[in-house]
């Protein structure tokens, strides 16, 4: 009886699987692991168009403002040429760094709102019942959502920033050429390649990996809260801080949070603040990778994510 059952169980399975094998080049194991992940990430981008619209809109704003500012560029450039070389550097780099900073801030704002809605929205609009009717595990779904602030947003922000900075450079060059000034000072004082490299490192290491527990916490809250996810994201942290202050008159928790937000003792100085950063990149990377702050953070992130996966498994529509 038992063997009969397993056979009748296995037969249609194997015949179906072999059909898939013929039509797909990838082996089923790889297929089942990566394809749902790939499509789930695409799905997130379809649903949350702000992920790419927001940085593009900010980039457009930056370029618009910069275009207006180029009216005064030739005059300011002449004044700068007369000043100390360090001031020249600062003057030339400043708008490029400001653009990077604005886009970074956009990334963080988009990431926070995205994470808080990621596992809440699908329960609110009941679409979780549809997603769960497909052969995609809760783990894959949560990982695909976590990959947005961790991987997609830093890379996207990097690409938008680099393109924006290059457009700014070309715009300034055109204006300076038009007014008969040489491009030498501008191009020698603007290490765009080094800045880009530092930016990529900063985005992935700091805003991606080091901030991971923050995104993990927000995803967990969005999986748990029935409403007012935004409030629930902040209140428990505040409560812990208050209790600690009253009970022990200390503020280690608040200090810990602050250190996490500011990048901790391992914080990589923003590229512009240090000209010797170029040589230090590898050293800093090494220091960053062995810092306990990073690994504790990643462990906490993994725990938050595991809890979010478990919650999604149990929860239905709100």
């Amino acid at each position: 009886m038992n063997t009969m059952n397993t056979q009748s169980n296995a037969m249609p399975e194997s015949s179906r699987d072999s059909q898939i094998d013929e039509s797909q080049v990838v082996t089923p194991a790889v297929l089942s692991a990566t394809r749902p992940m790939y499509w789930s990430v695409r799905r997130e981008l379809w649903e949350n168009r702000s992920i790419y619209i927001a940085p593009l809109a900010v980039a457009a704003l930056i370029l618009f403002g910069f275009m207006i500012s180029t009216i005064h560029l030739p005059g300011k450039m002449r004044a700068a040429l007369a000043s100390h070389p360090l001031h020249q550097q600062e003057f030339i780099e400043q708008p490029y760094n400001f653009a990077a900073l604005l886009l970074m801030a956009t990334y963080l704002i988009v990431a926070v709102f995205y994470c808080l809605d990621a596992l809440h929205g699908e329960r609110r609009d009941r679409s979780i019942l549809f997603w769960k009717s497909l052969p995609v595990s809760d783990l894959t779904t949560v990982l695909s959502k976590a990959s947005i602030p961790l991987v997609v947003l830093p890379l996207l922000t990097f690409a938008v920033t680099v393109v924006t900075q290059w457009i700014m450079l070309l715009l300034s060059s055109a204006v300076l050429l038009g007014s008969g000034l040489s491009l030498g000072t501008l191009w020698t004082h603007l290490p765009l390649f080094r800045m880009s490299l530092m930016l990529l490192y900063h985005l992935l290491a700091m805003h991606g990996l080091y901030y991971a527990p923050i995104y993990g916490w927000l995803l967990l809250v969005s999986a748990w809260a029935r409403r007012a996810a935004f409030l629930w994201a902040g209140l428990p942290l505040l409560a812990i801080g208050v209790v600690e202050k009253i009970a022990f008159n200390t503020s280690h928790f608040a200090a810990m949070l602050q250190s996490r937000f500011s990048g901790g003792p391992e914080a990589i100085a923003y590229p512009a603040q240090s000209s010797v950063m170029q040589e230090m990149t590898l050293l800093t990377l090494g220091k960053f990778l062995i810092s306990p702050g990073l690994w504790i953070g990643l462990a906490v992130f993994a725990a938050f994510l595991a809890a979010a996966v478990r919650l999604r498994r149990y929860q239905g529509p709100i």
């Binding site: 009886m1 009969m4 059952n5 009748s8 169980n9 249609p12 179906r16 898939i20 089923p28 297929l31 089942s32 394809r35 749902p36 790939y38 499509w39 789930s40 695409r42 799905r43 379809w46 649903e47 699908e122 609009d125 009941r126 679409s127 019942l129 549809f130 769960k132 009717s133 497909l134 052969p135 995609v136 595990s137 809760d138 894959t140 498994r313 149990y314 239905g316």
Partner: protein
């Protein structure tokens, strides 16, 4: 042990509580492959909870196997062979029809995109529309087109036609029977709209207060249960045959019998097979009085 056809769904002592409310109170059921089961019950009877347990959406106590798998532990694997339509409003409103097809084709190894597009071509739904732009009926058509293009072995429908007009409702079950159902598939449908599934079902189950109170194939139903319309002067004679239920209509009474002799009933009036709705009322009425009696 006898050889039985493979069970698509097998549950023993399925139990589920929400706080103090008992949603499932020891449900035993077995659904063979190739059947269309109607799960009928009043609001709050445990229909949706039972279906959620079968679909791996909710944890439970007791034994449950769906296509040989434990749904709670293996939902994602199970969903390769199971499709379900929860109710009309679960397709994400932001998604574009073409994106929906792309996504399902991307994650579901048994989805046939061409087939889904074929079904959609028979409707007025365009691939560039977003779900939020579609009417309720069209969203159901879309969901059905996606589900019918999946080569699944079990399809679970929970109030699939809720809020649809008569045309869409009729069309829904027609498409299911003509374009989807075959002897290798199993369909479980929970609904209040019993009259429209009457001729679709092969099996019928009533659920009340977390228990299965009625479980028969439609052939059994048709051979066992008879309804007679009796004029007032013959009601006493009819009552002597112990009907399970009696209701008043204009010009007489309708009495419902379980396993009565058709010949004797024909002498009393016009004999016919009761509708599922009438059978439901009769079974539920008896069940309610029995449990009330037990409570007293």
């Amino acid at each position: 042990m006898t050889f039985q056809p493979m069970a698509c769904i097998e549950a023993r002592g399925l139990h589920k509580t929400f706080g103090t409310i008992i949603a499932l109170d020891g449900v035993n059921l077995r659904v063979e492959e190739g059947r269309i089961l109607g799960l009928i019950g009043p609001n709050g009877a445990g229909k949706t909870t039972a279906l959620n347990a079968i679909l791996g959406l909710t944890p439970y106590q007791g034994e449950l196997r769906v296509l040989g798998r434990d749904p709670w532990m293996e939902r994602d694997l199970l969903m390769r062979d199971v499709s379900f339509i929860a109710d009309v409003a679960v397709l994400p409103r932001w998604i574009m029809v073409s994106q929906l097809l792309d996504y399902v084709a991307g994650v579901h190894p048994r989805f046939d995109r061409a087939k889904a597009e074929g079904f959609l071509a028979k409707t007025t739904i365009r691939l560039t529309s977003r779900v939020r732009e579609l009417s309720k009926g069209m969203v159901t058509q879309l969901h059905l087109a996606v589900v019918m293009a999946i080569d699944a072995r079990l399809l679970v429908l929970d109030e699939p036609t809720l809020g649809l007009d008569i045309l869409y409702r009729k069309q829904f079950y027609d498409s299911l029977l003509n374009d989807y159902f075959d002897r290798n598939r199993t369909i479980v449908v929970a609904t209040h709209q019993v009259e429209e599934v009457q001729h679709v079902l092969t099996d019928l189950m009533f659920i009340d207060r977390g228990r299965i109170v009625f479980d028969r194939s439609m052939e059994e139903v048709e051979s066992r249960y008879l309804e007679v319309m009796v004029r007032p002067e013959q009601v006493a004679a009819a009552r002597a045959l112990k009907p399970m239920h009696e209701r008043q209509v204009i010009g007489g009474s309708v009495l419902l019998f379980d396993g009565a002799d058709r010949q004797r009933l024909t002498a009393l009036g016009e004999v016919r097979t009761p509708s599922i709705a009438d059978l439901f009322v009769a079974v539920m009425g008896n069940h309610a009085s029995v449990t009330q009696g037990a409570a007293r």
